[in-house]
Assembly symmetry: C2
Homo-oligomer: 119 residues x 2
DNA sequence: AAGTAATACATCGTAATGCGATGTATTACT
DNA sequence: AGTAATACATCGCATTACGATGTATTACTT
């Protein structure tokens, strides 16, 4: 079964698809921080939100490690919120450091925009 | 010696710097194909050109493997050109497949632009 | 004459990261 | 009883930028 999916990936290996992945890899952290800044988010909510507002389709195995990473890097802080029923949610918000970094990132993007517009 | 540089990288590990790398990772192939389409290029020339026209600083250990990869993927073709003196140059140009892919990539970027502008 | 820098090719190993597969638990719908 | 949605999480693979390193030629500098 594993092997089947492995073969499938080899066969479907497409330059554009691969490139697209790399591109998202770069832009995703920006979108994530931006959305969290607007409003405190929990992981699952963020996945839905990314798809809705940025047409960015990501899976849980992308988002959860990323949120953990950003927390470890001091950009995010989290708190558990018990629900009346169901699984508790882990809400993430920006730390002051996170807000500062987001601002820096937007400046970098701004500069890249300029270069890109020439092409 | 190796270990020293390894430590150095750990210490200087910065979220923004790392993110910037990922971002370039996504945009670089686009710039490379774009520049080669305008005019046939050899590796060393391309490095200089990227810095001059796109403020994109890359090293040889990024560009040479990338050109090899793109050739293997059928996007580029190469030919050796002997110089009157010095080391021969390997010139790269777009294959028809490469031109088609570049067009697709520009469309993807266009779409991402739209999403980005909202932020 | 010797040393450095620029030009020109290339490869190795490490770090980083998206994503598919997989697992667990709860609730709601069919 | 079975499927789907909600909500968390980890493992392992594939991809790729980049520092370090190597080789060869030519030009400039001390």
């Amino acid at each position: 079964m594993y092997y089947f999916f492995y073969l499938l990936r080899i066969v479907k290996s497409d330059f554009i698809k691969n490139w697209d992945t790399q591109l998202r890899k770069g832009l995703l952290p920006l979108f994530v921080l931006h959305i969290i800044q607007r409003k405190e988010q929990y992981g699952y909510e963020l996945i839905v939100e990314l798809k809705a507002t940025a047409s960015f389709e990501v899976t849980e195995s992308t988002i959860y490690p990323m949120l953990t990473r950003m927390t470890k890097d001091g950009l995010l802080q989290s708190r558990w919120v018990e629900q009346g029923s169901g699984i508790p949610r882990k809400y993430y918000s920006l730390t002051p450091e996170g807000k500062k970094k987001l601002k820096e990132m937007k400046q970098v993007i701004q500069r890249l925009f300029t270069n890109l517009s020439e092409l």
